[in-house]
């Protein structure tokens, strides 16, 4: 019992209980911890504690060579490793002034969008599980397995893809990509449809998500929100549109925005983004097919990567938001400093604001809707 709490909401009755949630808690993804001060079930104050998965990635990066660090970036956001790889590669390419061939850029786009679908699927699925709806999770995960199969058959790993190289990609898309993709596409759509049927207009689901942990656009920008969580607040910001990279300016797609920035909007934005990703992949593959078969996949890159001294920051729109890499080089073969700007790190720090005055059940819903990935949160 906390004898001297600071009442911040209208539920003051005198006695408050401190409830420690996590790190080993089913809703806390294994590594997050929130210490809450509750009045009954109402949260007076939440204090997230992170660092339970701090593996020293940035320090490790300073001790590895530029190429060796690519596999480490897989382990940042393990739900979608490919945007992490590409983001890092783009940062080093920017530092060295390398122009990546168009064909490689298209392959990157296709793979990144597949990863985006996979990431959103698992996020929506887990959101359902945390709200007690188990079944959509299973529907989504089956399709996710198929995406994993594409990854695996493309570069040999399901999860930690180590996709691409500095200066391009290492391999072309296999010949039967189109076949596989045409087979996968309706399945992804169908799983999404079924999920929507089970959830979107379900009264209980709406009650549980609409208006929960709503956030205004100004607050969101002030807290450094990016990605679906920012778009759910009504800010139309997407690095793919605003700072186009990898030929994203050539594709026609929409950026969904929400209104209230609540759990429902985040869920809905993610659902729509999956559909848009499918559109992007279709267009990218069309462009890819127009390329000559022997178009280069790699720019000319020296064998040992030793970028000139300098420091650059390069970001892309990962499924969670702006994922940036700051790379500082001293001219040697090891990066001098690698700073990762993980999207959910900025989002999760607003967590006390998001859940203040809500119930414990809403804390769970809010957390899963933010899609906090401990790997990139703690690094």
């Amino acid at each position: 019992m906390n004898q001297n709490p600071t009442p911040q909401t209208g539920h003051e009755t005198g006695d408050y209980v401190t409830v420690n949630i996590g790190p080993s808690h089913p809703a806390m993804h294994g590594t997050l911890r929130v210490i809450t001060l509750t009045d009954g079930e109402y949260i007076i104050k939440a204090d997230p504690e992170i660092g339970y998965l701090h593996r020293g990635v940035e320090k490790l990066g300073e001790n590895l060579t530029y190429h060796q660090f690519i596999p480490i970036t897989d382990r940042l956001n393990y739900c979608s490793a490919i945007p992490n790889n590409v983001s890092y590669e783009m940062a080093v390419e920017k530092l060295m002034g390398i122009e990546v061939p168009e064909k490689a850029q298209l392959i990157r786009v296709i793979m990144m969008e597949l990863a985006r679908i996979a990431d959103h699927q698992v996020c929506v699925g887990i959101l359902g599980v945390d709200l007690g709806a188990f079944t959509p999770f299973f529907y989504l995960i089956i399709q996710r397995e198929e995406i994993y199969e594409i990854f695996e058959w493309f570069n040999g790993a399901r999860l930690t893809n180590t996709f691409g190289r500095i200066g391009g990609v290492d391999a072309d898309l296999p010949d039967d990509f189109e076949e596989r993709w045409e087979e996968l596409k309706p399945n992804v759509r169908k799983a999404n449809e079924e999920t929507e049927k089970l959830l979107t207009h379900n009264r209980i689901w709406m009650d549980r998500t609409i208006g929960v942990s709503a956030f205004s656009a100004e607050d969101a920008l002030n807290w450094g929100f990016t990605g679906p969580c920012l778009r759910a607040c009504g800010v139309k910001r997407d690095l793919r549109k605003d700072e186009p990279y990898c030929m994203y300016d050539k594709f026609d797609f929409e950026v969904p925005v929400g209104k209230n920035g609540d759990v429902f909007d985040r869920y809905k934005v993610r659902m729509i983004e999956m559909e848009q990703s499918i559109r992007i992949i279709d267009q990218a593959y069309k462009l890819y097919k127009e390329m000559p078969a022997d178009a280069p996949l790699m720019a000319r890159v020296p064998k040992t990567i030793k970028p000139p001294a300098g420091e650059v920051y390069s970001a892309l729109e990962s499924p969670n938001g702006e994922l940036g890499f700051f790379v500082k080089s001293d001219g040697s073969a090891n990066p001098y400093r690698i700073r990762i700007r993980p999207p959910c790190y900025m989002i999760y720090q607003a967590f006390p604001e998001l859940v203040k005055g809500e119930l414990i059940a809403d804390l769970v819903a809010c957390l899963s809707s933010l899609n906090v990935i401990a790997g990139e949160l703690d690094r």
Partner: protein, 188 residues
């Protein structure tokens, strides 16, 4: 008008620019440590700059870069770094720097703002009053480098546990640690 000139115009008259560099299109400006908040406000509120979004805050340890005298001794690995720091002659430049990544949402321009922090005065003004987004990154910079942020509401370790003795991202801290043990015994 390109970004560099605009920043120069905005901060120059107030003599807020210590140095300015550009690397592959990324403009970075170094401002005096004492007047960080002032510079940030100018950058945010000047209409033709409008850097209203704080993307990230982090520290950099320049310990290795600041050791140019040792370079002749280990000539075999002194490759490529000659462009960086032949200028240092007298006292070493401040060891740490804190980098702020700013973003203008309207024009999608990015700017790096730096302050240099020397080892004997590790205090920097906190930006939490301007951007809430600085809350955790500043805590992390404190955790990893020991830079203290004045005015931060809750400056304690973020990633390492509370009684961790060192600041792990400093360059003189070994990658595999110094054998810090986590106290495993718990009371029931």
């Amino acid at each position: 008008m390109d970004l560099k000139k605009r920043v120069e115009q905005c901060l120059g008259p107030e003599s807020l620019v210590v140095a300015m560099t550009e690397c592959q299109g990324d403009v970075s400006v170094e401002v005096p440590k004492r007047r960080l908040l002032e510079a940030m406000r100018l950058l945010r509120d000047t209409p033709d700059l409008g850097f209203d979004f704080l993307s990230d805050v982090f520290g950099v340890d320049n310990l290795d870069l600041n050791k140019p005298k040792k370079k002749p001794k280990k000539a075999e690995e002194g490759e490529g770094a000659e462009a960086e720091e032949p200028k240092e002659k007298g006292p070493l430049p401040p060891r740490f720097e804190v980098v702020y990544l700013l973003l203008c949402l309207e024009r999608n321009e990015r700017l790096q703002v730096k302050v240099r922090v020397s080892e004997d005065d590790m205090e920097v003004d906190s930006l939490t009053s301007m951007w809430k987004a600085a809350t955790w990154p500043e805590r992390e910079a404190f955790d990893m480098y020991g830079v203290r942020f004045k005015g931060h509401p809750n400056l304690k370790r973020l990633l390492m546990w509370d009684d961790f003795p060192a600041h792990p991202l400093r360059k003189d801290y070994p990658l595999e640690g110094q054998g810090e043990e986590r106290h495993l015994i718990y009371e029931d």
